[in-house]
């Protein structure tokens, strides 16, 4: 069985972000980097399937500069067998369709039975890449999964919907899954596995070798939301508050006649 898990290196969300000089992305300087949190669940799920199916090979793929290899090592230390680094120094200038095309081009002749991605990245958050990859490869995709069960070439996965509802989806492999937070409990890479990770194969492919399409969208501008005026805090008992709110909605906004 062959499994692929796609990960992205993103900044720690606690970082202080600044807009870059072009005004189209955040400045990369002085940030702490980590694996996209959604992808951690993907790696953990992929490793669990590998442990379940005796003869499975698990590849981790990541697009970005040399720096992302550090994050790939974590995936290798969690249990991936080999890594594919797609070298791209200007990752933030690539739009989701280009990212998906690169991954799909790599995967097209490999015969992966299962492909895992995160539901979205914590920085761009387009939530498109996983689905686009599946579409290009003409395989089914199941998004926002919070439960995953593989047996004999088929998967029963649960998707998280609005209001806490879950839907059960059954699909035959090959298939792609985008992972939601809480799908599983990502393991700590043990020290012996961290040491072994450096001996695992990690190849680099230039992104130009895999990118065969033109971009279809570009980021025009990125900016912080404008600071609005202060809010109003009302105190009192419920029925009085209701009257006050209705008054304010009538007088200050156009939502009530």
């Amino acid at each position: 069985m062959k499994i692929l898990v796609c990960i992205k290196q993103v900044p720690d969300m606690e970082s202080k972000f600044k807009i870059d000089s072009a005004g189209t992305w955040y400045d990369h300087a002085d940030l702490a980097w980590r694996m996209n949190e959604y992808d951690e669940y993907g790696v953990e799920q992929a490793v669990q399937v590998k442990e379940q199916v005796a003869d499975a090979d698990l590849t981790v793929l990541c697009i970005g500069s040399e720096k992302v290899k550090e994050t790939m090592k974590k995936a290798l230390a969690m249990g991936c067998d080999r890594g594919v680094h797609v070298a791209e120094d200007n990752l933030s200038s690539r739009e989701p369709y280009e990212i998906a095309a690169i991954i799909a081009e790599f995967a097209s002749d490999k015969g992966f039975d299962l492909i895992f991605t995160g539901m979205q990245s914590q920085d761009r958050g387009s939530a498109q890449v996983g689905v686009l990859v599946a579409e290009i490869l003409s395989i089914p995709s199941v998004t926002t999964i919070v439960d995953f069960d593989y047996a004999d070439g088929a998967v029963n996965a649960k998707r998280e919907l609005e209001g806490g509802i879950r839907s059960l989806v059954s699909v035959k492999t090959p298939a792609l899954f985008t992972c939601q937070l809480g799908l599983n409990t990502p393991r700590y890479p043990t020290l012996p596995n961290i040491m072994k990770a450096k001996r695992k194969e990690l190849i680099s492919i230039p992104s130009e070798d895999l990118l065969k399409i033109e971009p279809r969208q570009q980021t025009e501008k990125i900016y912080f939301p404008e600071k609005k005026g202060g809010g109003l805090v009302l105190e009192g008992d419920a029925s009085d508050l209701a009257d006050k709110v209705i008054q304010i909605l009538k007088e200050k906004t156009g939502v009530l006649a």
Binding site: E70, P189, L191, P192, I194, M195
Partner: protein, 381 residues
């Protein structure tokens, strides 16, 4: 000179930090208040992560990582719980390491492997009521009787004792020899008849780490349990403590870093006179001094660790690192309590525990006075 952590060291830091913050930190206060050692959390789980044999070869169940990785692991654990940091440090440096350095192949297979795998917890018994800094004043005796050594005496202030299965013990094998001559090292296992535990100390700090008395009353151990050559015990102890100093220096560093992080976070939130106190130069100067001392201590620890892994002589470096890091920990934690003010004095905030924990780092595994002796006598030889 490369001052950057390599990829493995960075991953180790990330892993241990995540584990420490998620699993160890939540119970740190409670375990300190209850003086409770939680073996599953503070040792068995470290074994599952492969931390209990960090520096030893794979053939003995170790991870074959370097001493900087060891320093990082102890620092990150100590940052949230100094008791957990010393549990690992004493186990690795004071028990597993001497068996690795001085043990026969059989002893390594029999005793080192379960320690490295985290199946057994280790401890080290050198200190006695009348032999602390004066380790040559050891009164515990070991007398040969047929195919056994018979141990009599007591050891006090022993970390991990009671829970640990494996003990490296120093005892006098030659009564005629003076001072530090005539002492030998032995491996003694819990459950050996004649080996029991006495008083558990009630301490100022590291209260979640058990500190217990060992009692030997005609305790017979096989002659194959002697560690190293007869009479070489003092050398075994000193070499063991050199490595232990890196562990304690890392523990002190972790305590200091934890306190610094708390102080910075508090200063940014706490408002007085209409502004966060972090905006006052007085507070910024204090934090700057704390951060500078912590960073300097870190470099001292890494230098000693680097030398240990490179096979270079490192006694002086480890003494300097331990001296500096422990004094830094005491200063930084005390200053952190000051910055947190009245709140810092209460148990609702962790800095008072960190200050209580820091004190012991200036005392055990060689007091600051002994470290100064080691450094000074090396300089003036």
């Amino acid at each position: 000179m490369n001052f950057e952590l390599n990829e493995e060291q960075s991953l180790i830091r990330e892993m241990v930090r995540n584990f420490a913050e998620t699993e160890i930190a939540p119970s740190a206060r409670e375990r300190d208040e209850e003086e409770r050692f939680d073996r599953t959390l503070m040792f068995d789980k470290l074994g599952e992560l492969g931390l209990t044999g960090i520096v030893f070869p794979e053939k003995y169940g170790g991870a074959e990582a370097d001493y900087i990785s060891y320093a990082i692991a102890v620092e990150e654990l100590s940052r949230v719980c100094a008791s957990t940091g010393v549990t690992l440090s004493a186990h690795l440096s004071l028990c597993a390491n001497p068996i690795y350095l001085f043990g026969t192949e059989d002893q390594r297979q029999q005793f080192l492997t379960p320690l490295a795998q985290g199946k057994k917890l280790g401890a080290f018994g050198l200190t006695e009521p009348s032999a602390g800094s004066d380790a040559g004043g050891t009164k515990t005796t070991a007398v040969k009787d047929g195919d056994a050594w018979v141990l009599n005496g007591t050891k006090i202030f022993i970390t991990n004792a009671g829970d640990a299965e494996t003990y490296v013990i120093l005892a006098r094998t030659d009564k005629e020899a003076q001072k530090h001559h005539g002492i030998s090292a032995f491996i003694v296992e819990k459950g050996t008849p004649g080996f029991s535990f006495g008083k558990k100390e009630q301490k100022l700090g590291i209260r979640s780490s058990p500190t217990v008395e060992l009692v030997f009353e005609n305790c017979r151990i096989p002659t194959t349990n002697m560690l190293g050559e007869e009479g070489s015990g003092f050398k075994v102890a000193m070499k063991t403590l050199d490595g232990g100093r890196i562990g304690i220096a890392s523990q002190a560093l972790g305590i200091a870093q934890g306190a610094l992080d708390e102080a910075v976070a508090y200063a940014k939130e706490r408002k007085q006179f209409n502004t966060p106190i972090a905006n006052f130069q007085g507070v910024q100067f204090q934090l700057a001094d704390m951060a500078t001392q912590v960073e300097a201590s870190r470099l001292m620890v890494y230098l000693a660790a680097y030398k240990a892994s490179a096979g270079l002589s490192y006694s002086q470096s480890s003494a300097m690192a331990k001296l500096m890091a422990s004094e830094t920990a005491m200063k930084v934690t005390t200053q952190a309590v000051q910055i947190l003010g009245g709140y810092g004095y209460t148990r609702d905030f962790p800095v008072e525990r960190m200050m209580r924990d820091a004190k012991i780092t200036e005392i055990y595994e060689g007091t600051s006075e002994i470290q100064r002796l080691v450094i000074g006598s090396a300089l003036t030889r």
